[in-house]
């Protein structure tokens, strides 16, 4: 008979082994799924994980890794901070959309002003937009004790409607011949989030993601706020006695994650996406939840996990065009990854022991 025994402390080895095992298990299960869909499983998995990095057209795909990874890492870092403290911001997708709207809104409002301060203003507006959207669940939780999971999630749907309203209404391109969608910011140099080094995929969002990783690493390891975050997650009662104010922590964690998600949206709309359109958001806010968990809520881990998820996005697109693999299969593949991670995590917190049958 097998018996589970709680470890006094989470195993360090398993903490880092679990994500690797989860990725392997997902490859196997994903392979089975692809086989069921009538594709060669080996070829499909290789296309997703190998082709973008070392394949024939890798020089084109590698920069995409940064482009797709940057928003995931930016959002994931913020979510990770909150999750550590037991504050569940599930609505990053909404904060991402609102950040894009406020950021692009500033750019579109001053069009065609050509000044150096346009882009920095947009960055600030994007962060503020995401922050403000995240403050709604934060303030409601602090003031009324409302569940932040449900409120932040409801606000995703509200933000999606707002995006549609903006793309069809106030932000519609006046020279767009009636098509929905805003002016293309890529054609407005003062507002364009262009590549810093041509051909590398390196835009300002990537820089911001890198700064966020370092910032979060220092915050968690070296700053009293980071200590409070970790303490509140692991021992809420002890945190209260140590003088941590839960309300302030909720406001801070949701605020930071909202601002980072807003930034991600702003960098996306002014760079790779280019314009405010109805289908602007592609679910980065939700995938970032997987990224945060896969990265063990640790900043360095989240950076690696973000790149891995970016890889599955790009590889998935290649598999879509080369092998005719449905886009939904990739979405399922990413969901599976989180499942396996949560399952394998059993070994991080528990030891499996063989129980000897006792004689009565």
């Amino acid at each position: 008979m097998l018996r589970l025994e709680r470890r006094p402390q989470p195993s360090r080895l398993w903490t880092w082994l679990a994500p690797l095992l989860a990725v392997l298990a997902t490859m196997v299960a994903g392979g089975l799924l692809f086989a069921l869909l009538g594709k060669n499983p080996y070829e499909a998995v290789a296309t997703i994980f190998w082709e973008p990095l070392f394949g024939e057209f890798a020089s084109y795909y590698r920069p995409q890794l940064l482009v797709k990874g940057a928003p995931l890492v930016l959002i994931g870092i913020g979510l990770g901070l909150g999750f550590r403290a037991g504050i569940w911001n599930i609505g990053a997708e909404g904060q991402y959309i609102v950040g894009a709207l406020t950021g692009a809104g500033v750019g579109l409002a001053v069009y065609p002003l050509d000044a150096w301060f346009v882009f920095p203003l947009m960055v600030i507006a994007g962060a503020l937009g995401g922050w403000a959207w995240a403050m709604i669940p934060a303030l409601l939780k602090v003031r009324f004790g409302t569940n932040e999971i449900l409120v932040s999630l409801m606000l995703v749907y509200v933000a999606e409607e707002l995006l549609a309203a903006m793309a069809l209404g106030p932000m519609k391109n006046p020279e767009g011949m009636g098509f929905p969608g805003s002016r293309n910011l890529q054609q407005y140099p003062a507002a364009h989030n262009a590549e810093i080094l041509t051909g590398t995929g390196m835009h300002w969002g990537v820089v911001a993601a890198l700064i966020a990783v370092i910032f979060a690493y220092v915050l968690l390891g070296r700053h009293i706020l980071g200590y409070h975050i970790r303490l509140s997650g692991q021992a809420p009662r002890a945190a209260r006695f140590a003088g941590v104010r839960p309300a302030r922590l909720v406001l801070t964690c949701l605020g930071i994650s909202g601002a980072l998600a807003g930034l991600a949206g702003m960098f996306e709309v002014s760079g790779p996406a280019g314009q405010v359109s109805i289908d602007f958001n592609v679910g980065y806010g939700f995938t970032a939840i997987i990224v945060a968990f896969l990265g063990r809520l640790h900043p360095a881990g989240i950076a690696l996990a973000g790149l891995l998820m970016a890889l599955t996005y790009i590889g998935g697109e290649i598999a879509q065009s080369n092998l005719g693999l449905p886009a939904a299969a990739i979405q399922m593949f990413q969901g599976m990854l989180l499942f396996f991670l949560l399952a394998v995590d059993l070994f991080t917190n528990f030891r499996v022991r063989l129980r000897k049958t006792e004689v009565a």
């Binding site: 999630l153 939904a328 059993l346």
Partner: protein, 306 residues
Amino acid sequence: MDLSSINPVLLLASLIVAATPILVAAIGELVVERAGVLNLGVEGMMITGAICGFAVAVETGSPALGFLAAAAGGAALSGLFAALTQFALANQVASGLALTLFGLGLSSLMGQGYVGVKPPATPRLDIPLLGDIPVLGRVVFGHDLVVYLGLALVVVVWAWLKFTRAGLVLRAVGENHDAAHALGYKVVRLRLLAIGFGGACAGLGGAYISLVRVPQWTEGMTAGAGWIALALVVFASWKPGRVLLGAWLFGGVTVLQLNLQAAGIAIPVEYLSMSPYLITILVLVIMSADRSRAPASLGRIFHASG
């Protein structure tokens, strides 16, 4: 704008139809939460139920089989959540989110061949005499079987929780799983059953959207109904009767805003479409003052040591 084009009788009748999916899903989730488990995967199970039910109904031509398949599909998906939280002792919030993300992917994969297909119609019960009463007949007696099944579920769950021994044990497990375990009740087994029931209900609710309410299949068509169902349980303070009240309220808001859209009110469609979500938030804020009602073991991991 022409508000006179809104027919109050039809409005009430469609209110009940709009309320049914979230009512059924919320009643299932209420039982799960009363057992002390927080399953945030309702949205994922609903959308999976929606496509399972739709696919089977289209293939067999029988909506009844479709609804059965939807319940089975929802329950099967909830089995994944059950395995993660009850055996692998994983965090329930994370597992529920994983279930929703996975369910959304799974459903759009399964639904690829079904976009634009028309499902067989679910027949309305034609109750002789009762159905002919002028206003009441159409509003109360002119619906399909699932509507009445949903109402029956509310009564059954209420009575089961309040008057039966099994209901009492379920509540005990939800309030204090360690004490219930010490008394010899099978905590994990009971929770597995509750999670399965919740999954079946969510699947059924999802199929009601794809087979009756809309009726067709589009990706992500539940559009947050599962999350509204979760909010409904909080709104109801974990009481079945108030779930019904809440479901009608949300049904009413949904139907009213759709009717206002059709009547050509001078507010852009997008802002009207926001209203069900905003009302949900508003109601959550009002109700969250009363925190005492939540089952005490809700969301906590049970690990029998010994």
